[in-house]
Each structure stands twice: as structure tokens, then as C-alpha cells.
């Protein structure tokens, strides 16, 4: 094991300092979400105080807090967010898997151009194309609908999904399909029953990434979802009322928002690292 004889001191210091930087604001997010109005603005800022749940009550629109003008009442937005990001993730992963397989196994003309094109869709600044999505959506009757946002979320993740999945398929030896074909199975059978089960980890990793981006998508949604289809991040950004910004509520919403992503990430943590390596190794091999 190559790293055994190195002193542990320096890595420990590096990780320690970094964890303070990473965790400090996270701690502050959780603390602030539990503070009442007085504690929020106290000087010096307090570490110990009696927790107050009104931020969370405002987020979910429970009890008296729901009557406040600036209370978000995020239930509708929560449903929107779940429906849009789950459907968008499923579609992006499904289509990305199919395209990734085709790009990995078949040398069709224009394949490399397609791969660059797929990657370049991630580079487009949302504001640059938003005006035209706006026009296009109103013509197609998709303005302010979940369907429209599902389309957008699928689109922003599709390139990434194709790339990561191609990398995983590159890691599966082509002999597997060849043997299956020789033995009289169809390619579709080999794809579905032999190759797909081998890249389950890759599918999980891809879904993880797509879900993070879908769940937090703000730039497109804030313009395209005006009332009906508002997602959580869009709702949160509007938590700036006449009385100023509702800090506790924003922080509470942040905590609520990050929980599903963090659980998901923890479950697929092994595959995430694999996904990134495979993606690049696959690329340099072509």
C-alpha cells in the first residue's frame, strides 16, 4: 500500500481545515433555520439558543405561520419539484443510456460530432436561449406546465447522461454481445438481459448527478414557470417580502431541499466515483 509510510499529519491538517470551511456554513444554515427573529439579528451571533420552528412551519404552511404574507407554503411547489425532477431524471437516464450504448458500440458517421454536440449543450448559458424557449413554449402550449419543465430538465441532463453512460458501456467487453449473437440471441436481448445489468452502478451514478441538477434547477424554471408549475427553488427566491428577507424560512427551505439529495448521494456514493473514472477512460480510448 503506497501511502502507508507517509506521515498522516499533513493530510489530517488539510482535511481538518477544509472541513471547517465546508461545515461552518452548513452548521450556520441549520442554526439559522431554527432561530426566531430576535436571534437571527443578535450581536454577537449566538450559537446556543432555544430553537424555534417557525421557519419550518412557514415552509410547510402549518399553523399561524401560514397566515403571514411572506409564508411560502411549499407543498404545491414540493409536488411540482418531485414530479418534474423525478420524471426528468428518468427520461434523461433512459434516453442517455440508449444513446450512450449506440455511441459505444456502433461507429456510425458523425458519432464524434454528436458526442461533442451533446457535451456542448451543457455549456449553453440558460439566459442565452430562454427568450426563445419562452416563445417556443407558448406556441406549443407548454408555458408554465410541468410537461414543459420536464422537457427542459431532461434536456439539460441528457448530454451528461449520454457521456457517463457511454463510458460505462465502454467498460463492458464487446465479446459479451458477440457471444450472445453467435448463440442465436438477438442484440436487443443481449442489451437488455446481459449488458444493462452490468452497468446498474453506472445508471445509479448517472441518475444521482441528473437528480442533483434537476432538483436544484433555477435559471430556466424561474422564467418558464410563472405560477402553476413553480418549483421549490423558484418559490424560495420569492421569499423576499416587504418586511425584508425571511432568513429563517430560506434556511429551513434549504435544509428541507438538501435532505433527499444527501440521502440519494449516500446510497450511490460508490458508483459516483466509478462513473467519473469510466467516463473519462472511455473517452481517451476512442
Amino acid at each position: 500500500m503506497p501511502f502507508h509510510r507517509q506521515p498522516i499529519l499533513i493530510p489530517a491538517i488539510v482535511i481538518g481545515i477544509y472541513m471547517i470551511y465546508a461545515c461552518g456554513p452548513l452548521l450556520w444554515l441549520v442554526l439559522s433555520s431554527l432561530k426566531d427573529r430576535q436571534e437571527l439579528f443578535s450581536w454577537p451571533p449566538s450559537l446556543f439558543f432555544t430553537p424555534d420552528l417557525s421557519g419550518y412551519r412557514m415552509v410547510f404552511g402549518i399553523g399561524e405561520a401560514a397566515e403571514t404574507a411572506t409564508a411560502l407554503g411549499l407543498t404545491d411547489a414540493l409536488i411540482n419539484s418531485v414530479v418534474i425532477s423525478v420524471s426528468g431524471t428518468v427520461l434523461a437516464v433512459a434516453f442517455g443510456t440508449l444513446a450512450g450504448y449506440a455511441c459505444s458500440r456502433f461507429a456510425f458517421p458523425g458519432r464524434d460530432d454528436f458526442m461533442f454536440f451533446a457535451l456542448s449543450t451543457r455549456m449553453i448559458p440558460p439566459v442565452a436561449v430562454l427568450v426563445f424557449y419562452h416563445v417556443m413554449f407558448s406556441r406549443l402550449g407548454l408555458s408554465d406546465t410541468r410537461t414543459g419543465l420536464i422537457l427542459v430538465v431532461t434536456f439539460i441532463n441528457l448530454g451528461l447522461a449520454t457521456w457517463i453512460m457511454k463510458g460505462f458501456f465502454d467498460g463492458v467487453p464487446e465479446e459479451i454481445e458477440n457471444i450472445a449473437l453467435v448463440n442465436g440471441y438477438t442484440r436487443l436481448y443481449a442489451f437488455w438481459n446481459l449488458v444493462l445489468p452490468m452497468v446498474r452502478g453506472g445508471i445509479a451514478a448517472t441518475a444521482g448527478f441528473c437528480f442533483i441538477f434537476a432538483w436544484n434547477e433555477f435559471a430556466f424554471s424561474t422564467i418558464l414557470a410563472t405560477t402553476q408549475a413553480k418549483t421549490l427553488p423558484v418559490k424560495i427566491s420569492s421569499a423576499t417580502g416587504a418586511t425584508g428577507i425571511e432568513w429563517a424560512q430560506i434556511c429551513a427551505a434549504g435544509v428541507v431541499l438538501v435532505i433527499p439529495v444527501a440521502i440519494f448521494f449516500w446510497l450511490i456514493r460508490k458508483y459516483l466515483l466509478m462513473g467519473m473514472t469510466f467516463g473519462v477512460l472511455g473517452r481517451s480510448r476512442t
Binding site: 488539510v14 454577537p44 440508449l98 456510425f108 439566459v127 427568450v131 473514472t277
Partner: protein
């Protein structure tokens, strides 16, 4: 005689109507290609077309007037636009350098095996998973000059309170700290993946040969993980160039318009002033820069691939 026919042959005859690879390839590519083309081609053609018009989406009745490249020349001759490019450049440079130095160092430290590493690693990844808008508001709250916790720490160190978000120079660094906080985990993730991809025997061989840890890092680990690090660098560079959520939440582009990035200004032209024609031209300029940057990196990557 019959037995002598290879198994594959008989099988192929047995399933004469098996779908050909060509068809499968087409079917598999179709959905992805359709969505990407729909979502890219239409806006791009419109973008190029509208960038030559004097047109506002708010006032379609007024009609549009073809003005050639005037939208471009007007934009590029305005000093305030160039200032936005300079500011964005400073921001991108600062934040990407900070993320990279910190991210690569931390990822290297995480190569050591210790108890609870997975848990620490996952916690270190958390900032990346937060909603960007929440991150912006959180840091704005912490950077508040009157009662923010950052200034509390500053006063503990014996300095006076700093006006973080009200002075352009400070605001730049405040947003860099927030952006680096959020996206260093991404660099750590990719760098870790890169380091794990290096065969352990190479490092062992170097160690047996008496190479110092520093030598092994700069001469073995870094060069071997270059392809992934380059991709991470490209993705972070482009994302930083596009950054506008954090500025929107933290400074609102202020004071004045001193902390507006290019993307932020584009959003303002398109959705506050509704100069659709001019916004299209601005978007085209931005896209040219981004595509140029990525072409350079793709070239670097393929070169790297060949060297391996």
C-alpha cells in the same frame, strides 16, 4: 454434415427477422437526438436571426427592423460591456484557481484510508448538493456587515467590521468564497476519481525507487490524472463563466452594476429591458467564447489521450 454448420449460422437462419444493428442504432439515438435538436436548433437559429434585428419581445406589434451587425458593433463599442467581461474574467480566474488548489489538495489527502472517511467525504460533498439560490442567500446572510457571522469572526481577530457586499472589490471576493465553497466538492469528487484510476503499483514502484512524496505527487499522480483534471477544469471554467445565480442572490449585481457578470447583464438586457435583438447578439458573443474555450480543451484532451 448438418452438425458441421457453425451454431451462429443456424441461429441466424432461425431468427431471420431479427432487427439489424443499423435499425437498433437509429432507434437508440432517436430520442436523444430529437430532444437535443429541438432544444438547441430552434433557439440557435432564432438567436442568429434576432441578433440582426432591432426588436423587442414586449413590443411585437412595432415590428422588427433589419439592422445587420449593428447590435454587435453597438455592444462591443460600449465600455460598460467590456467592463463586464473584465469583471467576469477576474471572477472566473479567482474562483477556478481557488477551487482547484483546494480541491486537488483535499482529494489527495482523502487518498489516505482512515475510519469514517466515507462519512467525512459525503459531508464534504454536501455544499454541491444545495440549491444555488439558497447558497447565495445563506452567504449573503453570513456576510452581512452589521450582524453577519463572518464579520463576527473578523472582529474576533481584532479587525474592524468589513463592508463585504457594498464595495465592489470585496464583493468579488465574497462571491468567490461562496462559489468556491459550493463547487470545490465537485473538483474533489473528480480528482478523487482520477487518483483512484491510477494503478497502485506505479506509485509503489516510485516509492521503492526512493521517490519523495512530493516528487511522486508532481511527477506520477498529477500527470496521470491529467485527463480528468482537465475535464473538471473545463466544466468549472464554463460554469463560472455562466455564473449568475450567486450574484443574483448575494449582490443583485450591485453596488450599481459593478458586480454584474456577463451572464447577469445578458439576463438584464433580455428580461428587464427586453431588448431582444441586442440580447441575442450578446448571447451569440457569449456562446462563441464558450465554444472556443471548449474546443481548446477538447484539443488538449485528445492530445493527452494520444500521449497515453
Amino acid at each position: 454434415m448438418r452438425q458441421a454448420i457453425p451454431a451462429g449460422r443456424t441461429a441466424a437462419h432461425a431468427v431471420p427477422r431479427a432487427i439489424s444493428d443499423r435499425t437498433i442504432c437509429g432507434l437508440f439515438m432517436a430520442p436523444a437526438l430529437a430532444i437535443l435538436l429541438l432544444m438547441v436548433a430552434y433557439p440557435f437559429i432564432s438567436l442568429l436571426y434576432y441578433s440582426t434585428l432591432n426588436f423587442s419581445i414586449l413590443n411585437p406589434a412595432k415590428g422588427s427592423e433589419f439592422i445587420g451587425l449593428q447590435n454587435y458593433t453597438r455592444l462591443l463599442s460600449r465600455e460598460s460591456v467590456w467592463e463586464r467581461f473584465v469583471f467576469t474574467g477576474q471572477f472566473v480566474l479567482a474562483t477556478v484557481v481557488v477551487q482547484f488548489c483546494v480541491g486537488v489538495a483535499v482529494a489527495y489527502a482523502f487518498q489516505r484510508n482512515f475510519k469514517g472517511r466515507d462519512l467525512l467525504f459525503t459531508i464534504a460533498m454536501l455544499p454541491m448538493m444545495l440549491c444555488p439560490i439558497v447558497v447565495g442567500f445563506l452567504w449573503r446572510y453570513m456576510f452581512n456587515s452589521e450582524w453577519g457571522v463572518v464579520n463576527y469572526l473578523v472582529t474576533l481577530l481584532g479587525f474592524g467590521k468589513i463592508d463585504w457586499l457594498g464595495v465592489p472589490g470585496n464583493a468579488l471576493w465574497a462571491v468567490v468564497i461562496a462559489d468556491a465553497w459550493m463547487w470545490t466538492p465537485f473538483v474533489i469528487l473528480l480528482a478523487t476519481a482520477a487518483f483512484r484510476g491510477i494503478p497502485t503499483d506505479i506509485n509503489e514502484a516510485a516509492e521503492i525507487d526512493g521517490a519523495s512524496p512530493f516528487f511522486r505527487f508532481t511527477r506520477v499522480t498529477l500527470p496521470m490524472s491529467m485527463p480528468i483534471l482537465l475535464i473538471a477544469f473545463l466544466l468549472r471554467l464554463i460554469d463560472a463563466f455562466k455564473q449568475s445565480d450567486l450574484f443574483f442572490a448575494m449582490t443583485g449585481g450591485g453596488p450599481g452594476s459593478d458586480t454584474e457578470t456577463v451572464a447577469f447583464r445578458l439576463g438584464k438586457i433580455a428580461f428587464s429591458h427586453f431588448y431582444t435583438g441586442q440580447a441575442s447578439a450578446f448571447a451569440v458573443i457569449m456562446l462563441v467564447i464558450i465554444i472556443g474555450l471548449s474546443l481548446i480543451f477538447v484539443r488538449l484532451l485528445t492530445q493527452q489521450g494520444r500521449q497515453d
